[in-house]
């Protein structure tokens, strides 16, 4: 929910339909990222490696319990301890590289886009700066750039981490036990439908808050622009009353949006517990009949934890992704603006006598 409702972005701006397909926008952003190919490649590989190494942990628990501690086969620690430590350190190292490299790429790409926008601003026709239009233009190198910056910093890596975690967890679960895996993922469709459904409500409620927020912003701007008049006529109290009415509208709309967004996580964690229950119900019998070991059962409950959270994260990331794409589109819109009057080439320039 952390997209920025800008100071200047007006209603139409938020509601405007996107026309450029995502893949075109992504390709163009990638063109900017190309300058930092090395950082990008290292960062992306580290992201995937980090997510997968993170998944090694529950499996190592299962091994420790089943093969070393339970049977009291302590010599196993000789290889288990170094291996686990390597996995943990590797995981740490990958996360470090990922966060650092992706930060470099994100910051530099947005900076370059912003520089390009600034350069373009200096040459495009002055009619873009006419009254009313200025606000929209200002929000591109500021609010929009910030939205994209946040997305590239947090959103993009989370999406990668989430996808790798989910796929990795599935792979390991299916490797450990096919039947139990199938049972474990039965709650998955329910969770996805639920989150998607809530997401739709949440987006609608969120859009309403955009309207009330921009109303509040407009009120504030006008009040401040006319503050000298208000003071000259001692109308401060009335202005305050009007403002608090705008605030009230905004608070009401936001609380409604919060009501919906607050239900996301609890419901999903609740469903996860249902999943755990199913695993335990069938898993206990499987352990008793000797189909799986105790360690595998415990690992299953942990893997279920490991893929469920990223999944929720991924679904909620959708909003962030959408607003980042709109912001990117608006930024390119400015960068692509045609220059109507360009300087004459030097050989044709005329000296004014």
């Amino acid at each position: 929910m952390s997209s920025s409702y800008g100071t200047f972005s007006t209603r139409q701006e938020e509601r405007r339909k996107r026309t450029v397909p995502d893949r075109v926008l992504i390709r163009r952003v990638y063109n900017y990222a190309k300058a930092h190919k090395r950082n990008l490649a290292i960062g992306l590989s580290a992201t995937v490696a980090g997510a997968i190494s993170g998944l090694g942990s529950p499996y190592m628990h299962a091994i420790a319990i089943d093969r070393i501690i339970s049977p009291k086969n302590l010599s196993g620690f000789i290889w288990w301890i170094p291996l686990f430590v390597v996995i943990i350190l590797g995981n740490y190292l990958f996360q470090y590289i990922q966060t650092y490299q992706m930060r470099i790429v994100g910051e530099k790409v947005v900076a370059k886009m912003r520089d390009d926008m600034m350069e373009k601003l200096q040459v495009i026709s002055l009619r873009y700066f006419s009254e009313g239009e200025a606000g929209r233009i200002i929000s591109r190198p500021t609010n929009d750039a910030n939205t994209v910056r946040i997305f590239l910093r947090v959103g993009l890596t989370s999406i990668l981490v989430d996808v790798s975690s989910i796929l990795g967890a599935f792979a390991i679960m299916f490797y450990l036990d096919l039947r139990l895996s199938l049972l474990a993922i039965t709650v998955l469709p329910v969770a996805i439908v639920l989150v998607w459904f809530l997401g739709r409500f949440s987006r609608a409620a969120y859009r309403r808050t955009l309207v009330t927020t921009s109303g509040l912003t407009a009120r504030m701007q006008e009040d401040l622009a006319g503050i000298k008049v208000t003071q000259a006529y001692a109308r401060e109290k009335e202005a305050e009353e009007k403002f608090s009415k705008s605030q009230h509208e905004n608070v009401k709309a936001t609380i409604r949006a919060i009501l919906i967004s607050s239900s996301y996580t609890p419901f999903v964690i609740g469903l996860r517990l249902v999943g755990t229950m199913i695993i335990l119900f069938y898993g206990v019998n499987a352990v008793l009949t000797g189909t799986i070991t105790l360690g595998v059962l415990v690992a299953f409950t942990e893997y279920q934890f490991a893929y469920f959270m990223p999944l929720v994260d991924l679904v909620t990331m959708y909003d962030q992704y959408q607003s980042a794409m709109s912001a990117i589109e608006r930024m390119f819109d400015l960068i692509d603006t045609k220059v109507e009057i360009s300087d004459a080439p030097p050989e044709r320039s005329v000296a004014i006598q």
Partner: protein, 614 residues
């Protein structure tokens, strides 16, 4: 000099040390805002305890299942009961968590509203000096963008912190009786994790603060660039603007990357250390439990699993806390920017003994008035003059001679430093501000109309004015006919969604606005110089009418205004150079005569004379 030089110097001057103490005091301020909602806080604390307990049930019952159901001896009849507890705890957790998140969200909205209200209220009381130095865009973005960051923090922080604390306490409470030694080993890494988290906070906080401050300035730099684009094009400073921008931007990017480096170093460290702690638990358990050489009892294995799973549960609260610290870093820089304005002094305030005083006649006396925007640099120096009730005074002077400052001192838009201003013999500081300002009609230099109808705009100073009063004022201001010619008359909307008015029309509406309450004293900053002859004539006629029955001070650009004035006041670099009637001053052969001859007689007098005759 480069256009971006001040910004660049600012970005370079930012030193990282200050962040931490500032952050602590900002946090204290935020806590004060929570005080009003202590009942919310209590509910959140209670729910957080409940939520932590319900969250900790599943691993415990899973262990019960391992020990008692799987066995040996295995006893599958118990399974249903245990699973029921797990699912009930799950439902309880869902509800508790939902109510908690929602309560927290509602509280955050109330607190943000309170902060914004305080901010807005403080803005209403700021003097003109404050607004002379601040940009509207910047002030608005503090109340929106910056407060949004505070909102993000408020929505999660309390629950997250409580969750970490309570979950840790409850987990320790459960595992301690099972094995004190193993608990000690499991928790051994906690101080280290605490250290890492604190380190992350201390090291990145100042950098993020700098980033926030730079981005704030950068935004207004872009705004100014866009608003002043015409000027930049005319003087061909485009390259300068962009180069300066790039330089500041690169400082920003470098700061962001160093902050990123620290974050990437410390952020994944906490969970990794915790996992290493699990290794210790396994090794300890492996070597101490059971008899060497033979398999462990299921109960013992179950307990080890319980320890390991609880520790893994702790990684989430730890991760959440360091994320919340991240939101705080952004929030506090935003909060700092808001409070900086809220806390700025008001400058002009009611004195303790101020009261409502009615202005009966409108006599005005200025005695040794000295005033400056900056101390020791007076804009007005020792100004003394008296205006009798009903007199019309035209004020003349070069740009920067202190004309506007002088008339704006009367309704106390600024405070004088020395001397006194009296109305009907009473010092303006004896008046309540509202009482004083409501009785003085003001036409500001900047012709600003609020979005709304023409009627509302004219009646701005007297919302309960009858339609007759409004029409009367509009007639005096020579705008009535124009308004009547509009299809919707006085109900026509102006502003963003309404009609566009010319500068001259706007000015006459602001004159009507000043006249609607029929003030005894009228001050006008008439600096609208570049208008066509017809408009000029209409405005002139409006001013004539308006000034007829009241004490009027007018900053004049037009000769006709000056000629019809009772007296003329000539200001020269903050002092009264000459004061008297047109004839008196001409006879003096001083500044006025010189100005009169060079500016009015030769160039524009035919038009102006004609206008004045109307």
């Amino acid at each position: 000099m480069s256009i971006a030089k001040p910004l660049l110097d600012y970005a370079k001057s930012l030193r990282p040390q200050k962040g931490l103490t500032q952050s602590v005091s900002a946090f204290k301020r935020l806590m004060k805002y929570h005080r009003k909602y202590s009942s919310f806080v209590v509910v959140i604390v209670v729910l957080a305890v409940l939520r932590s307990i319900l969250f900790s049930i599943e691993p415990l019952y899973t262990t019960f299942i391992i020990i008692n159901v799987i066995g040996p001896p295995s006893n599958t009849s118990l399974l249903g009961g245990y699973l029921l507890v797990i699912i009930l705890a799950g439902i309880g957790f869902t509800i508790t968590n939902f109510v908690l998140l929602f309560t927290q969200g509602v509280m955050s909205q109330y607190i943000v509203r309170d902060i914004r209200t305080d901010y807005y209220r403080s803005l209403q009381g700021k003097s003109f000096s404050f607004y002379d130095s601040m940009a509207v865009g910047d002030l608005t973005s503090r109340a929106t963008v910056d407060l949004q960051l505070v909102d993000m923090f408020l929505r999660t922080w309390l629950g997250t912190v409580l969750n970490a604390v309570f979950t840790a306490i409850i987990i320790v409470a459960i595992i301690l009786p099972i094995s004190p030694t193993m608990t000690l080993i499991a928790m051994a890494t906690m101080p280290l994790i605490f250290y890492v988290t604190t380190r992350l906070w201390i090291d990145t906080m100042p950098l993020f603060r700098n980033m926030q401050l730079i981005i704030g300035r950068l935004t207004s730099y872009i705004q100014q660039n866009i608003i002043g684009m015409k000027t930049i094009r005319i003087f061909r400073r485009e390259k300068d603007v962009v180069d300066g921008f790039k330089e500041v931007e690169s400082i920003y990017v470098n700061t962001a990357i160093s902050a990123g480096k620290i974050q990437s170093k410390y952020m994944p460290l906490g969970p990794s250390i915790l996992t290493l702690g699990i290794v210790l638990v396994y090794v300890y358990a492996g070597y101490t439990l059971g008899i060497p050489g033979s398999a462990l009892a299921v109960a013992q294995v179950g307990n080890i699993i319980l320890f390991a799973r609880y520790m893994m549960r702790l990684t989430f609260p730890i991760r959440d806390v360091s994320q919340t610290l991240g939101t705080w870093i952004a929030a506090y820089a935003g909060l700092e920017r808001v409070l900086e304005i809220t806390d700025a002094p008001r400058n002009v305030e009611d004195l303790p003994n101020a009261r409502d005083i009615k202005i009966e006649k409108g006599k005005l006396e200025l005695e040794n008035v000295t005033f400056g925007y900056v101390k020791d640099r007076p804009v007005l120096d020792n100004v003394t003059f008296t205006v009798e009730p009903g007199e019309k005074i035209a004020i003349l002077g070069a740009t920067g001679s202190g004309k506007s400052s002088l008339i704006y001192l009367i309704p106390r838009f600024y405070n004088i430093q020395q001397g006194s201003i009296k109305i009907d013999g009473k010092d303006v500081r004896e008046f309540k501000l509202a009482s004083l300002r409501k009785q003085i009609g003001v036409v500001l230099q900047d012709v600003f109309l609020f979005s709304g109808t023409l009627k509302e705009n004219i009646a701005f100073g007297k919302p309960d004015a009858s339609i007759d009063e409004i029409v009367q004022a509009a007639k005096l201001a020579r705008i009535h006919e124009f308004i009547e010619s509009l299809p919707t008359g006085y109900d026509t909307a102006v502003g963003e969604r309404g009609i566009t008015l010319s500068g001259g029309q706007k000015q006459r509406i602001t004159i009507a606005r000043a006249l609607v309450s029929n003030p005894r004293i009228l001050i006008m900053d008439d600096s609208l110089s570049f208008v066509d002859a017809k408009t000029e004539q209409e405005i002139q006629s409006a001013i004539e009418e308006a000034a007829k029955t009241r004490t009027t001070l007018i900053i004049a650009q037009r000769f006709s205004t000056i000629k019809t004035a009772d007296k003329i006041l000539v200001l020269e670099s903050g002092s009264v150079a000459e004061f008297g009637t047109h004839e008196e001053l001409l006879a003096k052969s001083g500044v006025y005569k010189r100005v009169y001859e060079t500016q009015f007689v030769q160039k524009t007098s035919p038009v102006l004379e004609k206008a004045g005759d109307v």
